[in-house]
Symmetry: C2
């Protein structure tokens, strides 16, 4: 009898251990790696990245471990962005989101149906740590646009870099609304931090990325979209049939272009695009540079603009101006520059005629035509009305 | 005593059930869905895709369930391609690969470290079925380039479509070597099937997709790359330090562009690109159309060319020719057409001067210059030597 009990208890011990193993096996798929190695063996997760050095693309790839990136919005674009940076072996990722994973998100990459109901930052952090335990993942499960949370957001991006008290190296905006973009913009203007804005259109067939360097390129408030969704509950919008379409392809391209340009910036290779658009229907990729609006509503943007003008310019910057000799209407592959502060005044549609659908509102009033002569174009840059209309169309589809 | 045994047995039963649940929970995250619904609720995985109809992008999105796609190569590009099509709710996916998942693949999306050692098709099929149980996944774990396997590959793509005995709707090549591309090309020329070729460069900073419609656009044998890796064991190549670099970004963009164009073709929206390149360093996206080589080595290509010329042309095709009025050197965004069969003869570098690195060989001898007058340019299409050199450079980096 007592022998039988011993046997049963042995079975219980075995089952418990198997259950424990089953639960933890997916948490520890590989050990942490102290230093990145270039050794070409199947077991080295960094061999193909370190090969970028031998291919003369990147000098000292391992510097990526000294970089911290904040990702705001961990949805269709943000989650793939985090996945790529994690697989590239970034030093630290700080994730911000306050949404939950839903089955309705399964038409985009990254999240899996079993994660439905989990907070996006928690679900993402689990998957990312599992994929690459070498990356430090920090999560913030709140809406950055409320007053208290904004302060916390501001202090996090400006003091949670790799070194204690230092800012992160880059902020990536992967949010889906106007208010959050304006909050990131305000924070980065205040702290003088570079960031990338990204977005996909609600018809799922276009996207863009934009590099904001306070004072140097236009900030989000310099040329905000003309039409934005009203500040009403997202769920109401969805039920009213304004639910946006989305595709894993368009989200994937936007995230890939975002991370590729972030890598070029962080590891100093290739040319970082200031603005890169994507139109899926025609495979068209417009490129341009937006200069700051001298009458921007953001006070810190004006401060950064002054600082930028006082800064000594590197020689490369002057050479870039020559590019504007290219024909204006041919294409934007050669970095044709548009001046953002002319945008409102050259818009041909008046706000009254703009076809604003239910649930949308004009974000601001277009300035009076008479102000036109006061806005200053950057000397030497080409400005064309047709191109500006295209730009406005892109901005509207944000 | 007997009560204690009952209690222990109850514990065992409970632990067994918990263990079983733990093992299967990740296999059945959601039930299968009979019909795609456009209902906007958090629990509907298809709401954002069906919204493409309301946005006037796609008519009858649910037709995607009647489509079967073969993906050859389930690596950095193929796995993401399969992931996207699965999340889009494709009817059937047929995966071909004979490689195993390694930790060295973790710098690209999709596979996870716990899958190291599994065959790529098996690991992919598990993940894909878990993400979307509505998709029918079929796997083939063999190298398509051997004689026997080639026959099996040929019969699979031509008879394993949605309807029994019908061909798949599209073949996507996501392989990383010359022989496999030539095998897919031979199969699709023989069976008169449309396919997309894709590739990323070994320095990880460029990629491309190419749409091959037998007889209509150039096949892979019409203008093959000039330099290819020798047919030696891949592992040897890796050890000798020729290991290719790769980035999740470049692989992600290539896969996204591939699937986006596959969706446009399968669901009939937007314009499908014939050739679309991507240069990561400058964010440049060349576009062009390659016409078939009238002296192509593939006998079936010549048959398809004859058939194509006898086929009545749709009116849209004739209109396209007008596009070649655009300036030749400005950019390729407007579909400037290059004639593929001139490529070898206009190459300025002779094969002797080509800088062929260790482990590489010339794939074929460039024809004698005297043959130049015999190659026929398609009437009305612009041909420029400078552009052809760019094209060759792209081909070489495949």
């Amino acid at each position: 009898m007592s022998a039988a009990i011993d046997e049963l208890q042995a079975i219980i011990a075995e089952l418990k251990s198997e259950l424990e193993e089953q639960k933890t096996t997916t948490r520890n798929a590989r050990e942490r790696i102290e230093r990145m190695s270039a050794e070409v063996v199947d077991s080295n997760p960094y061999s193909r990245l370190m090969a970028l050095q031998r291919m003369n693309i990147v000098k000292d790839y391992e510097r990526i471990r000294d970089k911290a990136v904040a990702i705001v919005g961990v949805g269709g674009v943000g989650s793939v962005t985090a996945d790529m940076l994690t697989r590239c072996g970034i030093g630290k990722l700080i994730l911000f989101d306050y949404d939950k994973v839903e089955l309705a998100n399964m038409n985009r990459l990254f999240f899996t149906p079993d994660q439905a109901g989990l907070s996006k930052v928690e679900a993402a952090a689990r998957t990312l740590s599992f994929i690459n335990p070498d990356v430090c993942i920090e999560t913030h499960n709140y809406n950055i646009t409320t007053v208290d949370n904004f302060d916390q957001f501001l202090s996090t991006i400006s003091a949670s870099g790799i070194a204690v008290g230092q800012p992160v190296d880059l902020v990536l905006s992967c949010v889906d609304n106007f208010e959050a973009r304006m909050a990131i913009n305000a924070a980065c203007n205040e702290k003088n931090m570079n960031w990338f804005e990204s977005g996909v259109s609600e018809n799922a067939v276009s996207g863009h990325i934009q590099f904001v360097r306070p004072g140097d390129t236009a900030c989000f408030a310099c040329a905000p979209p003309l039409v934005v969704a009203e500040n009403i509950d997202e769920r109401t919008l969805k039920r009213e049939g304004v639910c946006a379409a989305s595709l894993p392809t368009t989200m994937g391209i936007t995230a890939s272009l975002l991370v590729q340009n972030a890598l070029k910036y962080l590891l100093n290779f290739g040319e970082v695009s200031d603005y890169l658009g994507y139109n899926a229907l025609s495979d068209f990729f417009p490129k341009m540079t937006l200069r700051p609006n001298t009458q921007c509503d953001d006070r810190n943007c004006l401060v950064r603009q002054k600082e930028f003008h006082l800064r000594p310019k590197p020689v490369e910057k002057l050479v870039e101006v020559e590019v504007s000799d290219e024909p204006l209407h041919a294409c934007n592959d050669w970095g044709i520059e548009l001046v953002a502060d002319n945008v409102p005044t050259t818009t041909t549609k008046s706000p009254e005629n703009t076809n604003v659908a239910f649930g949308l509102r004009l974000a601001y009033e277009a300035p009076d035509k008479s102000e036109k002569s006061e806005t200053t174009a950057t000397a030497g840059d080409g400005v064309s009305e047709a191109s500006l209309e295209e730009l406005m169309a892109q901005m509207k589809s944000m």
